[in-house]
């Protein structure tokens, strides 16, 4: 029987003290839904995911179980129970 609620494990690059968090979502949730939920609920990861001035997402890339997903595809990627999501920020070596 299909579960109504799924759990995904989420990390954001550079948010290590926050560690991996488990987020519960409806079973038809997309990656965009996850990002919106983290933002709207003022989850502790949200300050790593959004520009606090503009409110726009600061992340444009996520790995879902190590598979790269660009921001424009967040809405098209459905999440499954047990998925691991890693959001990557546009930071690089100086």
């Amino acid at each position: 029987m299909e579960r109504e609620i799924i759990s995904v494990k989420v990390r954001v690059e550079g948010s290590y003290p926050s560690g991996e968090v488990v987020v519960e979502l409806p079973n038809d949730a997309t990656l965009k839904y996850l990002l919106d939920k983290l933002g709207s609920s003022k989850h502790r990861l949200s300050e790593y995911l959004f520009d606090s001035k503009t409110g726009k997402p600061a992340v444009r890339l996520a790995l879902v179980n190590d598979r790269s997903v660009l921001q424009q595809d967040f809405e098209r990627v459905n999440l499954n129970d047990g998925d691991k999501v890693f959001f990557i920020l546009p930071v690089s070596g100086g």
Binding site: L49, L63, D66, P90, S92, G93
Partner: protein
Amino acid sequence: MFKYGGYTGKILRVDLSAGTIEVEALAEEMVRDLIGGNGIAARYLYDTVPAGTDPLSPENALILMNGPVQGTRVPAVGGRTVVVTRSPLSGFFIDAYYGGHFGAELKFAGFDGMVITGRAEKPVMLVIEDGDARLVDASPYWGMKTFVFQKKLRSEENYNESEITCIGPAGENLSPMACIISGVHAAGRGGVGAVMGSKQLKAVVAKGSGGIRVPDMEALEDYCDSIVERMQANPATSKVLPTYGTPAIVAANNKLGLLGTRNYQVEVFPNADDIDGEALHNRAFVKSASCFSCPIGCAKLFRMEGEEYGPAESVGPEYETIWSYGSNLANSDLKSLIAADRFSDEMGLDTISAGSVIGMAIEAFEKGLITKADTGGIELKYGDPKLMMELLKQIAANKGFGKVLGAGTREFGRRFNAEELAMETKGLEIPAHSPRGYPGMAIGYATSNRGGSHQDGRPSAERGGAVDRKQKEGKGEYIVDVQRMTTLADCLVACRFTEGIFGLTTISEDYVDIMKHVTGMDYTVEELFDVADRVYALERAFNAREGATRKDDTLPHRVLNEPIPDGPAAGEFMEPAVFEKELDAYYQKRGWDLKTGLPTEETLRRLKLDDVASDLY
């Protein structure tokens, strides 16, 4: 008074052979056309150093230059300086940058920069103080490590408030991998420290009490406040870099399957968790430090107990060094990374090139291309931090096998018939951003005038998903715009961490605003494109005089022929046909000749480089 704000309008001309110092007026037209920093330095280098000049000869010029913003409150640019010279490692143009406070202090002392030629009879240092400059005997300091020297100098009454730019033993020993150190910051690439050592110049010391004149200080303050506000709203510059510094990105690059390991033979390091930003923060973090006027504070002091590799206390390692001394050597010993970073800074050694050539040598040893007869009896193997420390000592001493290594991966490849293992372009080792996984960055490496540097093309937009990293088509044209942005930032001598605020992929209106607020000059974005193109063409013309053509705009054999063997990015590489097509597009967008890879005469004249056009055509 100089016409434009931000500048002192004065350049020092130092001839160490003659022992003379002259003050030269900065030409207003040059400022308008090239802005400053790398732009003006490139012009001086082109005009001062004739083709074929031995980089370690007195005729080569060592140029230190400010841009207009140094000494102002504009965030993340205020204290930086660029060093420009002909590289003893590559033989081509090199520009190397360092943070800290020296750039601001030089401005306060009354100078925008200096052009140093000749060779002193004995070790000297150039002391600059409030509009005056003199040469001082540095014999007592010759041979000192950089930190010992700076501490010693600061303990003396005359210099206790000075900012110091110096070399360590690696520069004195003329290692082509020697860098220049200021505080704990390094102008790392291309052997600029060896050029300084060849001139018997131990240090440049600056102290000043002057100010910076800008058109409207209140307007500039308001503008700086707005930039700081944007930085504080952006998670990268308000959370990640202030907390972890650049080591933060180790984990994600490994997850992407793009963390060069064992000389880029593979790109997943199984022990990355032992050396990533979290590990460093949890096991070794002491405190943060900032450059002049920067609110980020990305510099991290790390310390671990025990000295089996030497003192394990250093501001660093940065991401690049975690790669070069870590995954690239299959070394997961965190303490050794901190100790090796400290050792390299004290000796004045470029960690990127040193780690790259050691990684290549180990691969060559494992494949039987070199033996103990070549290494001075040392067995080379990955995952051996004590071996790494020993080889770093030898490179810094520039003797024996260390001299062979210090000549760089290109020369090492030629010597041992191991060219296919060399991870370099134009003789400069490529750093820690995978050219197989980031095709735009790959074309950036290939076309960079300084060689294998991530500071002309940039990996940030591809790595962070702002552009699709897997798409190769269009990346030739894409990287022209990225290089325009980086070239302009180098004229301002701006830290790359501004790119997340000012724009990752091209020149934005922010640069127009900075120039207006600091200098009073009104540029359009299109005019700034021309400045960037002019500077890049000038650098390219310098290289052309040294024989550079399209054949030098290439990539390592591994990048063009060996797909990443496993991991999340398995199969990715730069197919030669795709690369050549994108290179054509790159040249076309720049107005460069497709056969020679050089700016056409028409392009040079459009950029007001008529003298260069006459030289090349």
